[in-house]
């Protein structure tokens, strides 16, 4: 294969600055929301003593999970030695860092006392998976930053595989930690399953790759850089497999839950009669997150269409957000079982399905963090050479242009 030339994007057009301005406006709105939340209190959010984690956490966890998944493209190149992915590795690392920073910003600004961030950095309880995550998240940014440096500095290229392997293992541990935040919660019936950790890993594969594909296609289109079919089709096939993987894990998760009588009430709520949560699960997570993209990617009518790849990737993102909402909010909407088998009532909403409606500041904070991630990506692309000048099939992998367009699942 030929030498890959990376170059900064021009970033002078009205479109570029317009996009920067739009994203900056969202970031500003998010910061304003956080300021109000800190000064007035969480009373201005929809979060209560029943639903203690809300929309900000949906966005934050989604972005953090997607961040680790976005690194996969680089890992496939460096760790598993697939040269076809190598030109994309830098962008992959950039997305990983940016998405994680966006997610963390939301998480931190939602704290009751964000001014005490220094406390979180100086006081640790190492029995807490949250405390571990503080190290895993900041470490991930450091490791991935170093990985990017090794990839971009010619003299250090020799270490790419070694550092890439560390980054790959780190991201696996990181997502295990994120899934375990919920998996360890024995108190709540909709959680409390070890499978949540690997399920989050597969979710990260799908969400991260979907965002990667969208950013890649948008960046190439916006800068007029050629993007070969082989690359797009290879990534799309991989994304289809990951989406199917998420469906498989959801199936295994819920089948296990359904088998245990203890969890049947919660399962009936989430899968059958939970209103918005049932809808988000079946239409959002299962259809938009899994079935629709698989159909778009592999139906004979659409399988060669770039537009279908775009819509399919967007569908995975929307379905992923729906799944996060279902897991985080739906899981809290179901009441705790303090007296199993008994009918309970109290002034503190015992025994009733908890109500939650996100407020404007929460939406602003969640979108602001997402916009921050995109803004970081956009500015980084302008400042440093992350994006190859050309991704035409011949320059990426001269001998396998035909193989790349294969549409069989798992061909990639």
């Amino acid at each position: 294969m030929g030498v890959i030339h990376y170059r900064e994007i021009e970033g002078r057009s009205a479109g570029f600055w317009g996009l920067v301005g739009l994203l900056a406006a969202f970031v500003a709105a998010g910061l304003t929301a956080a300021w109000f939340m800190e000064h007035i209190g969480h009373i201005i959010t929809g979060m209560t003593n029943q639903v203690v984690w809300g929309l900000p956490h949906v966005f934050a966890v989604f972005l953090i999970v997607a961040a680790s998944g976005a690194l996969n493209v680089a890992s496939i190149a460096s760790v598993f030695g697939k040269v076809a992915y190598k030109p994309l590795a830098r962008l992959s690392g950039l997305l990983a860092v940016a998405l994680l920073i966006g997610g963390l910003a939301i998480l931190v600004l939602d704290l009751g006392r964000p001014d005490r961030l220094v406390v979180a950095m100086t006081h640790y309880n190492f029995r807490s998976i949250f405390a571990w995550n503080i190290f895993l998240y900041t470490g991930f940014v450091a490791v991935t930053g170093f990985y990017l440096w090794v990839m971009m500095e010619r003299r250090l290229n020799g270490y790419t595989r070694m550092v890439g392997t560390v980054a790959f293992l780190w991201r696996l541990i990181l997502t295990t930690g994120t899934g375990s935040i919920f998996g360890f919660l024995v108190a709540r019936q909709p959680y409390d399953e070890a499978i949540m950790a690997p399920m989050f890993i597969v979710m990260s594969f799908a969400f991260g790759l979907a965002i990667f594909l969208l950013v890649l296609m948008a960046a190439c289109k916006g800068t007029g850089r050629p993007l070969g079919d082989a690359t797009v089709m290879r990534l799309k096939n991989l994304l289809g497999v990951f989406a199917a993987g998420v469906l498989y894990f959801l199936l295994a998760f819920h089948i296990t839950k359904l088998y245990e009588a203890e969890f049947r009430g919660a399962e009936a709520f989430l899968l059958l009669n939970g209103g918005i949560y049932t809808f988000l699960f079946w239409f959002g997570a299962v259809f938009l997150g899994g079935l629709l993209p698989m159909l778009l990617f592999w139906l004979p009518q659409t399988r060669r269409s770039r537009v279908a790849v775009g819509w399919g990737s967007a569908s995975v993102v929307v379905g992923g957000l729906a799944l996060m909402y279902d897991i985080i909010i739906g899981g809290q909407a179901w009441p705790l079982s303090i007296f199993p088998g008994m009918h309970v009532s109290s002034s503190f909403y015992d025994g009733v399905v908890n109500f939650y409606a996100p407020s404007l500041p929460e939406c602003a904070l969640g979108l602001g963090g997402s916009a921050l991630a995109l803004l970081l990506i956009l500015l980084a692309l302008k400042l440093l050479p992350f994006l190859p000048e050309s991704l035409v099939d011949e320059s990426v992998e001269p001998h396998s242009a035909a193989a790349g367009t294969s549409t069989a699942p798992g061909a990639a």
Binding site: L111, H123, F339
Partner: protein, 250 residues
């Protein structure tokens, strides 16, 4: 220039030596000084919490009247929290009406922090703000609580509340404020002063005396004797949290 630098260093060394001597003198003198000046100083009103004690509560649900909320009112007024019926309002203690749908058997029980020996809130807290005192009382150190609410996710009893707005007029013995998590403290200032929690006192005064407070480690204590002779359960005993609050007649 080099020459002039030399005396400078010597001077510095002299100064250091002076401070070293001064420090040594001070170390020798300082304890004596404050001993003399503050012999009449403030003695602690309570000794350090000890692991020899394990504070616990026994609630006899057969004696708890469904209509009575004396414990809740007492807790609210002693600790200064208010429930105005909003979902964001704190409830350190609440009355839960429990009934068996198949038999109609029913009970009314106060539920608050169960002061677990293996408390999930303590395990999940990233900063260690949620902690267990040596004598088994589970507390939040609000000085280092960052308001992440993971403890509220982890607690099986819904015993924790989050303060969602600015407060004023707090009780001096029960500081509480926006952005931090709170819950039943077993009225720790009262316990340290040798009194029983406000809910227990109110239950004895206005209710049926359904609550017994005492040391679970002391075989001679009333709570321990009652537990030795009557069947009592822990809520969600399957979780093996070893709660400090026990229920009789459930």
């Amino acid at each position: 220039m080099r020459n002039s630098a030399l005396p400078q260093i010597a001077c510095d060394q002299d100064r250091r030596r002076f401070f070293g001597i001064a420090g040594a003198v001070a170390l020798a003198l300082a304890p004596g000084v404050s001993l003399i000046a503050y012999a009449q100083s403030d003695a602690p009103t309570s000794a350090a919490a000890s692991a020899k004690t394990r504070w616990g509560l026994l609630i006899d649900t057969t004696q708890c009247k469904p209509s009575c909320t004396a414990c809740v009112t007492a807790c609210s007024s002693y600790n200064g929290w208010k429930n105005e019926g909003r979902p964001t309002d704190p409830q350190w203690i609440r009355k839960v009406q429990v009934s068996d749908p198949s038999t109609g058997f029913s009970r009314s029980v106060p539920v608050m922090c169960q002061h677990c020996a293996n408390a999930p809130c303590v395990e999940v807290c990233p900063t260690g703000a949620s902690f267990k005192r040596a004598d088994g009382i589970v507390l939040v150190d609000r000085h280092i609580c960052i308001g992440c609410r993971y403890c509220m996710m982890a607690c099986p009893y819904k015993a924790r509340s989050f303060v969602s707005e600015n407060l004023s007029g707090q009780k001096p013995w029960a500081p509480r404020g926006k952005g931090t998590v709170e819950g039943c403290t077993l009225c720790v200032p009262r316990v340290d002063a040798g009194k029983v929690p406000a809910c227990v006192e109110a239950c004895a005064r206005e209710g049926n005396g359904a609550m017994t407070f005492g040391d679970l480690n002391d075989p001679a204590s009333p709570i321990r004797r009652a537990l030795a002779h009557h069947p009592a359960v822990q809520l969600r005993a399957d979780l093996m949290l070893d709660t400090g609050v026990r229920y009789e007649g459930l």
